[in-house]
C-alpha cells in the first residue's frame, strides 16, 4: 500500500512540476528571449547607425573638401552650390545618426521611447510646416511623391490635387535640366509637375485628354516639359507661389467698404482681369483655347509682379480640332451655349472656342466684382457698387455667343480703357473702345427703323475685315488641278459677327477649313477616276484609256518640267533629299489675283540647344535667303532674342493646321498649300527639321511657295540649294 501511495504522490508531484513549468517557466523564458531581442535591437541599431555616421562623415568630407574645393578652384559656382548642398545633407544625416546612437536607442532600451518619439517624428513635421513669409503653408514632400521620381527634377513637395485625378508635385530642376530650361528661355525656378499615373488611379481617357494639346501649349511657352509613357503622363509648368483668385476675391471684399470693392480693390480686380484676358489672347493667337477658366484656376502671385496666372491646362484644346465638342468645364463659368452645341454633336472647329473662353473670363470678372458666382448666366446682375462701364464689359462678355466680344483683344481694349481712367466710375460705357465705333447718331438712325424680330447686326462689334479665302474647287477631275472661286464679300451674311481667334480664321459656318476642302476635293477626284472606264469595252473606251495614258505622261512630265513637285537638290544622306520644294499652292494663290509678298515664314523644328555648327549653317542660310530679297519672319535662328508673339502665334497655327502630317510628305504639302491660300500675306515657307537618317546632324529643308514673286522664289530656292550643297565643303 505504502509503495502505491508513494508512487501516486510521486506522479502527482511530477504533474505539478510540469504544470508549474508550463505556467511560470515558459513565459519567463519568453520574457528573457524578448529582453535579449530588445538588447539585440539596441546593439544592432547602435552598430548600424554608427556605421551610417561614419559613412556620412566620410561622404561629407569628400563632398566638402576635394569636390567642393575643386569646383571653387575652377570657378564653377553652380557646382560649388551643388556640392555644398550635398555635404550639408550628409552632415544632417550624420547628426541624426549621432542623436540616435547617443539618445534615441538608449532611450528605447530603457523603455523611454515614448519620451523621444515626439522629438523624432512630430517635431520635425511641425517645424517643416511652419508658414512662410506670405502666410502660405510650404509644400510638403510625401513618401509617395519621393517615390514618383521624374528625371531631371527633385521633388520638394506636393500640392492639393484638382478634380482631374492627377497628382501635383512641386519640384526643383537639377543642374542639367535647369541649364536646358534656361537655354530654352525659361527661368529655372521651382516647377509644378502634374502627373497622371495608371498605377495611382488615373485613367487612360484622362491621360489622352490631357496629352492632346500639350505639345502646342509647350510651343507657346505654357509648358516647360512633358513626357508620355505607357505607364504615366506628366507635364511641367512654372510654379507660381500665390493664392487662387477665389481666395483673393474674398480678401478684396473683406477689405472693401462693405458694399462692393473700394478704389484700391477695384484697381486690383481690373488688373487681374487684364492679366487673365492677356493670357487668353496668347492662347487664342496660338490656336488654342483653355476651356476651364475659373477663379480656382487663376493664381495671383504673392511675390514679384503680383500678376494673375492662368494655370491647369487639363482641358486645353486646339481651336481647329476635328473632335466633337465636349461639355467639360465648370458650371457657372461654362457657357450654356457650349453645352447646347456639344449635345448637338458640333465639332470644335465648327465653332469659335475662343468665345467660350471669353464668356468664362466675363464670369470670372463678375465673380470678382460681385463676390459670388453668376447664377443666372448672362442675365446675372451685378448688385454691388461697381462702375457702369465694368458692368457693361461683363454683360458684353457673357452675352449671347454671336454678340459677345469677338476676340480677347477687344475685351482687353475695354478693360485697359477703364484701368487707365483716373476714376473708373466716371467712364460711361459709350466711351469704351468697343462702343466708340457705334456713333450715337447711327444708333438713333437705326432706332428710327421699324422694329423687326429678325436678328440685326451686332451693333457694338467693330468693323473687321477677316481674311476671306475663296472656296477651292476642282477644275480638272483627271489631273486633280484645283482653282479658287472668287472671294465672297463679307457683307453677304451680316447677321454673324466675324469669326475671330488669334490666327486669321474664317467663320467655319460659311465654309469648311481649306485642308478639309482639299481632302474632300481629292476624294472626289479619286472617285471620278474610279468611275472612268478602264478600257477594253469598246473603241471609245480604248480611246479614252489611250488618251488618259498620254495625258498621264504629259502631266507627269509637266510636273517635273514645271517643278510642280521637285524633290532633292542633293541626295545627301541615302535617299533623303536635303531640300524639298513644294509649289503646290503657287497656282492656287496666283489665281486669286492677290499682290505678291516677300515675306518668308521660317519654321525651326530643330531641337534646342542647337550645335554651334548647325546654328551657324542656319544663320548662313537665312542670310542667303535675305540676300535673295526675302523678308524673314517666324523663328529664324539668326534672330535676336525671342521672336515676336504674333510671329510665334502664326507659326503655332501653321503647325496645328498641318499636324499630324509632316511638311516633307505630300499630305503635309497639301496642308501647307491650304494654309498658304488662307494666308496671302505670307509669300512662302522655309521649314527646317532634323534629318533623322543624316549623321551630319544638318537639317532638312522644305520650301513651299505662296504668292511670292516668281523671280524672287527662284532666287530663294537656289539660295537654299546652294547652301545645302555647300555645307559639306565649308
Amino acid at each position: 500500500m505504502n509503495s502505491i501511495a508513494i508512487y501516486t504522490l510521486g506522479l502527482l508531484a511530477l504533474i505539478a512540476a510540469f504544470v508549474v513549468a508550463a505556467v511560470v517557466l515558459v513565459p519567463l523564458a519568453g520574457g528573457v528571449v524578448w529582453l535579449l531581442a530588445h538588447v539585440g535591437r539596441f546593439i544592432a541599431g547602435v552598430f548600424v547607425d554608427s556605421l551610417r555616421f561614419v559613412g556620412a562623415v566620410i561622404l561629407s568630407f569628400i563632398y566638402g573638401v576635394p569636390l567642393l574645393l575643386g569646383a571653387v578652384v575652377i570657378g564653377r559656382w553652380e557646382a560649388v552650390r551643388h556640392f555644398w548642398r550635398a555635404a550639408d545633407q550628409e552632415i544632417y544625416r550624420a547628426l541624426a545618426c549621432l542623436y540616435r546612437v547617443c539618445i534615441g536607442h538608449p532611450a528605447r532600451l530603457l523603455f523611454l521611447g515614448g519620451l523621444t518619439e515626439g522629438f523624432e517624428r512630430r517635431f520635425p513635421e511641425v517645424v517643416a510646416a511652419t508658414p512662410g513669409p506670405d502666410g502660405a503653408p510650404p509644400p510638403v514632400a510625401s513618401a509617395s511623391s519621393r517615390r514618383a521620381g521624374f528625371e531631371g527634377y527633385e521633388i520638394v513637395g506636393t500640392l492639393a490635387p484638382g478634380g482631374s485625378g492627377a497628382r501635383l508635385y512641386v519640384a526643383q530642376p537639377d543642374e542639367a535640366k535647369a541649364q536646358s530650361l534656361r537655354k530654352a528661355g525659361f527661368a529655372p525656378g521651382k516647377v509644378v509637375i502634374k502627373c497622371f499615373s495608371l498605377s495611382e488611379g488615373s485613367t487612360l481617357p484622362q491621360i489622352v485628354r490631357e496629352s492632346r494639346s500639350l505639345d502646342a501649349a509647350r510651343r507657346l511657352g505654357l509648358i516647360l516639359d512633358h513626357e508620355l509613357t505607357q505607364e504615366r503622363f506628366f507635364y511641367v509648368m512654372p510654379y507660381v507661389p500665390g493664392e487662387s483668385l477665389a481666395e483673393v476675391t474674398k480678401r478684396l471684399h473683406a477689405a472693401g467698404p462693405g458694399d462692393g470693392l473700394g478704389a484700391e480693390q477695384l484697381a486690383a480686380a481690373i488688373r487681374h482681369a487684364i492679366d487673365l484676358v492677356e493670357a487668353l489672347g496668347v492662347y487664342h493667337r496660338g490656336g488654342l483655347w483653355h476651356k476651364d477658366v475659373k477663379p480656382d484656376n487663376i493664381i495671383v502671385a504673392t511675390g514679384g509682379d503680383g500678376r494673375a496666372h492662368l494655370v491647369d491646362f487639363g482641358l486645353v484644346s486646339s481651336l481647329r480640332s476635328s473632335m466633337t465638342l465636349t461639355t467639360h468645364g465648370t458650371e457657372y463659368f461654362r457657357d450654356p451655349e457650349l453645352v447646347r452645341r456639344a449635345l448637338q454633336g458640333v465639332k470644335v472647329h465648327e465653332v469659335d472656342g475662343a468665345r467660350f473662353d471669353l464668356y468664362a473670363a466675363g464670369a470670372v470678372l463678375y465673380s470678382v466684382l460681385e463676390g459670388s458666382f453668376p447664377a443666372h448666366g448672362g442675365l446675372s446682375q451685378i448688385t454691388r457698387r461697381c462702375p457702369e462701364s465694368l458692368k457693361w464689359i461683363v454683360r458684353r462678355a457673357m452675352t449671347d455667343y454671336d454678340r459677345r466680344y469677338a476676340s480677347a483683344d477687344e475685351f482687353l481694349a475695354d478693360l485697359r480703357h477703364v484701368r487707365d481712367a483716373a476714376d473708373p466710375f466716371a467712364v460711361p460705357p459709350f466711351h469704351l473702345p468697343s462702343l466708340r465705333d457705334v456713333a450715337p447718331e447711327s444708333a438713333a438712325a437705326s432706332a428710327a427703323t421699324p422694329p423687326s424680330p429678325a436678328p440685326p447686326v451686332a451693333a457694338a462689334a467693330p468693323a473687321r475685315s477677316p481674311v476671306q479665302p475663296g472656296r477651292i474647287r476642282v477644275a480638272n477631275w483627271w489631273s486633280g488641278r484645283m482653282e479658287i472661286d472668287p472671294v465672297e464679300s463679307p457683307q453677304h451674311s451680316p447677321t454673324r459677327a466675324p469669326f475671330a481667334g488669334g490666327s486669321p480664321l474664317v467663320d467655319p459656318a460659311k465654309r469648311r477649313p481649306a485642308a478639309e476642302q482639299l481632302a474632300s476635293a481629292r476624294a472626289r477626284v479619286d472617285a471620278a477616276r474610279g468611275r472612268m472606264p478602264r478600257g477594253g469595252g469598246n473603241a471609245r473606251g480604248v480611246d479614252l484609256a489611250l488618251a488618259g495614258g498620254v495625258l498621264a505622261c504629259l502631266v507627269a512630265g509637266g510636273a517635273i518640267g514645271l517643278g510642280l513637285v521637285e524633290l532633292g537638290s542633293s541626295d545627301h544622306a541615302g535617299n533623303t533629299p536635303r531640300v524639298v520644294v513644294w509649289d503646290t499652292a503657287a497656282s492656287l494663290v496666283q489665281q486669286a489675283g492677290r499682290a505678291t509678298s516677300a515675306q518668308l515664314l521660317v519654321i525651326n523644328d530643330l531641337k534646342e540647344p542647337l550645335p554651334e555648327e548647325v546654328r551657324s549653317w542656319l544663320v548662313g542660310l537665312e542670310r542667303a535667303l535675305a540676300n535673295a530679297g526675302a523678308r524673314l519672319t517666324g523663328e529664324p535662328a539668326g534672330g535676336e532674342g525671342v521672336p515676336p508673339e504674333d510671329a510665334l502665334a502664326r507659326v503655332a497655327a501653321l503647325r496645328l493646321s498641318i499636324a499630324p502630317a509632316t511638311p516633307f510628305e505630300p499630305e503635309g504639302a497639301n496642308r501647307l498649300a491650304a494654309w498658304l491660300v488662307e494666308h496671302p500675306e505670307v509669300g512662302g515657307i522655309v521649314w527646317a527639321a532634323a534629318a533623322v537618317d543624316d549623321p551630319s546632324g544638318m537639317p532638312r529643308l522644305t520650301l513651299a511657295k505662296g504668292n511670292m514673286d516668281d523671280a524672287m522664289w527662284v532666287r530663294v530656292v537656289n539660295a537654299a540649294k546652294d547652301r545645302a550643297a555647300g555645307e559639306s565643303t565649308e
Partner: protein, 254 residues
C-alpha cells in the same frame, strides 16, 4: 390640346434630343430642385436633391413616351408629379432598406396622368414654373435682339435704371432709349408667346401670361401705360426667378 410648338418640343424629347433635354433642364432645373428641397426638408440633403433632380430628368425621359394629352395634365403638373414620384421612390427605398425588406413599386402614370389641373400643386410652384418660362423668353430675346438694344432694355427694365441714366451711360437721348427698348419689348412678346406655347399642355397654362399682367398681343392703340405694366410684370418675375437661382446656387455650393 397641344400646340404645334409643344408637339415639336415633345417630339424632340421623345427622339432623345440631348439638346432639348438640356434646354428643359436649364429652364426648369432650379424650380424642380427647389420643390424637391421643400418636400424633402429635413429628410434629404443637398447632394440627394442634386442626384434626384437628375433622376427626375431620366424619369421624364422615360415617361414622355407614355404622355397622353387627353388626360388633361398640365405641363407644370407633369414636372411636379415626376419630381414627387422620384422623391417618394427614394424615400420608399430608404425605408425599405432600413426595414430590410423590398419596396412596393409605385406607378408613375397613376401619380400624374390622373392628376386634375391644380391638384396637389401649390401656387408658389406654379408661379416659379411660369417665372422660368418668362426668363427663358428673356434669354431667347437676348439671342435675337441687337446687343445694345437688349442691354438698354436690361438696364432700363430688369435693373430698373431711370431712362435718363441709361441715356447718359450710352451717349444717346432718352427718346432713343425708349424707342430701342420698345424694339426689344416687341421681340420679347413674340418670344414669350413661343415659350409659353412650347411649355404648356393646357389652355389654362396658355392663359397664364394674361393672369400675370403680361399682355402678349397689345392693341394697335396701346398706350405707354400698357407697356409699363408689361415691363413691371417682366421685371418682377425676372427678379423672383433670379432670387430662386441664387438660392439654388447657394444650396449647391454648400
Amino acid at each position: 390640346m397641344l400646340t404645334p410648338l409643344t408637339t415639336g418640343f415633345v417630339k424632340r424629347l421623345r427622339s432623345n434630343d440631348q439638346a432639348a433635354w438640356f434646354e428643359l433642364w436649364e429652364v426648369f432645373g432650379p424650380v424642380v430642385r427647389a420643390q424637391l428641397s421643400k418636400w424633402g426638408k429635413g429628410r434629404i440633403g443637398v447632394e440627394t436633391v442634386r442626384d434626384l433632380s437628375q433622376e427626375t430628368l431620366a424619369a421624364l425621359s422615360e415617361s414622355i413616351d407614355r404622355y397622353d394629352p387627353a388626360r388633361g395634365a398640365r405641363f407644370s403638373t407633369w414636372l411636379l408629379a415626376i419630381a414627387r414620384h422620384v422623391l417618394s421612390d427614394e424615400l420608399d427605398r430608404r425605408g425599405a432598406s432600413k426595414r430590410g425588406g423590398s419596396r412596393k413599386a409605385s406607378s408613375l402614370e397613376e401619380e400624374w396622368m390622373a392628376a386634375a389641373p391644380g391638384a396637389g400643386v401649390d401656387a408658389q410652384y406654379e408661379q416659379q414654373v411660369f417665372a422660368a418660362k418668362v426668363v427663358a423668353a428673356v434669354v431667347a430675346t437676348g439671342k435675337e435682339a441687337d446687343f445694345t438694344d437688349f442691354s438698354i432694355y436690361a438696364m432700363r427694365v430688369l435693373e430698373g435704371k431711370p431712362g435718363k441714366d441709361v441715356a447718359s451711360a450710352l451717349g444717346i437721348s432718352e427718346p432713343t432709349v425708349s424707342r430701342r427698348a420698345a424694339r426689344v419689348r416687341d421681340i420679347l412678346r413674340i418670344k414669350l408667346a413661343d415659350v409659353i406655347r412650347t411649355y404648356s399642355f393646357t389652355q389654362d397654362e396658355l392663359d397664364e401670361a394674361a393672369r400675370n399682367g403680361i399682355d402678349l398681343t397689345p392693341k394697335q392703340d396701346a398706350v405707354a401705360a400698357d407697356d409699363q405694366l408689361f415691363d413691371e410684370a417682366v421685371a418682377e418675375i425676372h427678379h423672383r426667378q433670379a432670387e430662386l437661382r441664387r438660392a439654388d446656387q447657394s444650396a449647391r455650393l454648400e
